[in-house]
């Protein structure tokens, strides 16, 4: 009689033991499969989170330590009301980022966007602006913020969806004398794509934009995701609808001098926050950037805060899995040990008819595996029923155990402020819990883990009896 036939007969004839073992294996498999599913869901949520949030770092002139920082006094100003004279300084770095540096950084693996801006406040001829909610110095009335960029497509206001290009095209690296304005501003001034805006170069002598005329052509119109709320304070030049994007060349021309030939700060967005250290190291190793002039500030806090509950959940699940596996193996081994002792008569008979000990252990293994195959199969349904609930319960627990932070990034959202621009808040993947489902890969893992547990349990339970000589077993029988 074959080993399989013997195992089959035992499993089908000893129904009580079979049902008990089936129940134990089903419970064990349900827990293991649930753990594996939650683990996978947690890993997927972490990946999703990383891809959703990305990582960010700023590179800017190290104003405190750079040997290239120059501080120059500028012409004294006399306050018209008080008559007092005030001195001011012009501080700049002689080493700045160039468009070539930006291109090189964009080429680093893992970098998603690299953007930089030159900021200017200047007036355009005849341009009617949306008024702000707070008054500004009389000198700045009619001024708006002009951002000089290499291209607008990579600018954070566009990449985050805070602004959307509604019409026309983006400013690109090779453009000169072009601009993108808001659709609202265009309507207010009856402007359209192809029309020109006129401003003037900055004059150091006049300390104002009184220099030669500079014309820029409107090539695109944007719409903001939202404008400021009622009651919010904003100056005219900071209003998002008054914002004007121009190319770097034009921005430098507005500036008038030779001082600002590039950018004093860069904003880099990377695909995966976990890669932050590597990307920063690779950026720092790029040729053509003098790192005595710059410093790097990493902003990974948003990701770390958002990922913390998932990391905690992950640790919790892995610990639970290990505990479940070990406890299952121990319980199974104990039960099988007890049952093996009750089967000493059978072992003696098998040995007396010349069946090898290895074949006897093999039969026990097949018996448990026959039951395990069914129990593991059924655990697919039981796990699917409870995995989602347990997963989200554990996630809630993990979130409760995290220390409270000023930035409640999980419940609120990823929000980063730059200047007066509130970037669009993206919902985080964990906001609605994690999506737990039992996959085929989990099933395969369960069978592997289950097989290991069964082998360990059967081997352990058989050791005591199998070490005995056949005659000793037969003596015990009698």
């Amino acid at each position: 009689m074959s080993i399989f036939k013997r195992a089959f007969l035992y499993v089908t004839r000893k129904r009580g033991k079979t049902i008990l073992l089936f129940a134990i294996l089903l419970i064990m498999a349900t827990f293991v499969l649930t753990g594996l599913s939650i683990w996978k869901a947690s890993e997927a949520a972490q990946l999703d989170l990383r891809q959703s949030l990305g990582g960010k770092f700023d590179v800017f002139v190290d104003w405190s330590n750079s040997p290239y920082v120059v501080k120059e006094p500028v012409k004294d100003e006399v306050d018209e009301e008080t008559g007092k004279t005030s001195s001011s300084f012009l501080m700049y770095s002689t080493v700045q980022f160039t468009p070539e540096n930006i291109t090189a950084i964009k080429g680093v693996s893992g970098v998603k966007y690299c953007s930089a801006r030159q900021d200017n406040l200047l007036p355009f001829d005849g341009l009617s602006l949306f008024p702000g909610t707070i008054s500004t110095d009389a000198k700045y009335q009619g001024y708006t913020k002009v951002l000089g960029v290499c291209n607008t497509e990579d600018d954070e206001l566009f990449t985050t969806g805070t602004l959307t290009l509604a019409e026309g095209r983006h400013i690109s690296d090779n453009d000169t004398h072009v601009a993108i304005i808001s659709q609202d501003l265009a309507e207010r001034n009856e402007l359209k794509i192809g029309d020109y805006l006129t401003a003037h170069r900055y004059s150091v002598e006049d300390q104002g934009f009184t220099g030669p005329e500079i014309r820029v052509q409107i090539i695109g119109l944007f719409t903001p995701h939202a404008v400021e709320q009622f009651g919010e304070t904003v100056t005219t030049y900071d209003k998002i609808q008054n914002r004007v994007f121009v190319d770097l060349q034009t921005s430098k021309e507005f500036d008038g001098g030779e001082i600002n030939y590039g950018f004093s700060a860069l904003h880099v967005t990377i695909d995966d926050p976990q890669d932050m250290a590597r990307v920063v190291a690779e950026v720092k190793a790029l040729p053509g950037i003098d790192w005595k002039a710059f410093t790097v500030e990493v902003d990974n806090e948003t990701y770390e805060n958002a990922a913390a509950p998932l990391a905690t959940l992950n640790e919790l699940v892995v610990t639970l899995l290990v505990v479940i596996i070990v406890v299952s193996a121990i319980i199974l081994a104990l039960i099988l040990t007890l049952w093996t002792k009750t089967r000493i008569h059978e072992i003696g008979v098998f040995l007396s008819v010349g069946i090898r000990k290895s074949a006897i252990i093999g039969q026990y293994l097949i018996e448990v595996l026959l039951i395990a195959v069914l129990a593991f199969g059924l655990s697919y349904f039981t796990s699917n029923t409870i995995a989602g609930q347990i997963g989200n319960h554990l996630l809630e627990q993990s979130m409760q155990t995290e220390p409270e932070d000023d930035n409640d990034v999980v419940s609120v959202a990823a929000s980063v402020e730059i200047g007066a621009d509130n970037l669009v808040q993206k919902p985080l993947p964990t906001e609605n819990g994690i999506q737990v489902s039992v996959g085929l890969d989990n099933f395969a893992q369960l069978y592997l883990i289950g097989l290991a547990i069964v082998i360990v349990a059967v081997s352990t339970s058989s050791i005591t009896v199998m070490r005995l000589k056949p005659r000793e077993i037969l003596s015990k029988m009698s």
Partner: protein, 211 residues
């Protein structure tokens, strides 16, 4: 040529107590042997050595002139020996037919029927059979294995006198009709009377008793 042969076999427990001392003897097919002796004399030990369930402290057991350890004790038990016990030792989750199939090299049902089991009895759980029927199944298992040697340890010990007589007759028939070498360890004088050769163990030595 003897089927089974004991050559200067001695056996002692680990504590040093000698059970068998320099025992020699030959057992042939077609004969039924009875081994008698008081309790603790070493009858079952001798049967274990013949059956390859244990190995002698000294000396050797030969089957067809070859030491049984040469091809391994499992091989010896599987190919040369069939064991019958006082407590029948059937597998409780199998029917009589399945118990016989455990070792069967021959068709199980005709053997069981020849040993007196009805058709409905041979597919019933063995625990639902009487003691005599269970011992018949054990003998059927021994016969179906086609092993040349049947070793029986007190095969009638749990049976009433009539059934014991029937079982003894079957064992004798196994030797004479089927050409087996049947060795029966027993306390029973009635069983010994049916044997062709009666051996007696006294103080560790094996002697043939005059009938």
């Amino acid at each position: 040529m003897p089927t089974l042969e004991l050559k200067n076999v001695s056996y002692a427990y680990e504590k040093g107590k000698a059970v068998l001392q320099n025992v020699s003897g030959a057992l042939e097919t077609g004969k039924m042997y009875a081994i008698l002796g008081p309790s603790g004399s070493g009858k079952t030990t001798l049967l274990s050595l013949l059956g390859g369930l244990d190995v002698p402290t000294q000396g050797s057991v030969l089957f067809d002139g070859e030491d049984i350890t040469t091809k391994g004790l499992e091989h010896h038990r599987r190919s040369h020996i069939s064991l019958i016990f006082q407590s029948y030792n059937l597998i409780d989750y199998m029917t009589p037919v399945e118990n016989v199939w455990l070792t069967a090299k021959l068709d199980a049902a005709p053997i069981l029927e020849r040993l007196g089991l009805e058709q409905d009895e041979i597919t019933r759980n063995v625990l639902k059979l009487s003691g005599g029927q269970q011992q018949r199944v054990a003998i059927a298992r021994a016969l179906a294995s086609n092993a040349p040697v049947i070793l029986a340890d007190e095969p009638t010990g749990n049976l009433d006198a009539d059934t014991a007589e029937e079982i003894t007759a079957i064992l004798k028939e196994s030797a004479h009709t089927f050409g087996k070498c049947v060795v029966v360890v027993t306390h029973s004088g009635e069983v010994a009377k049916q044997a062709d050769v009666v051996l007696e163990i006294k103080r560790g030595h094996l002697k043939e008793r005059e009938m």
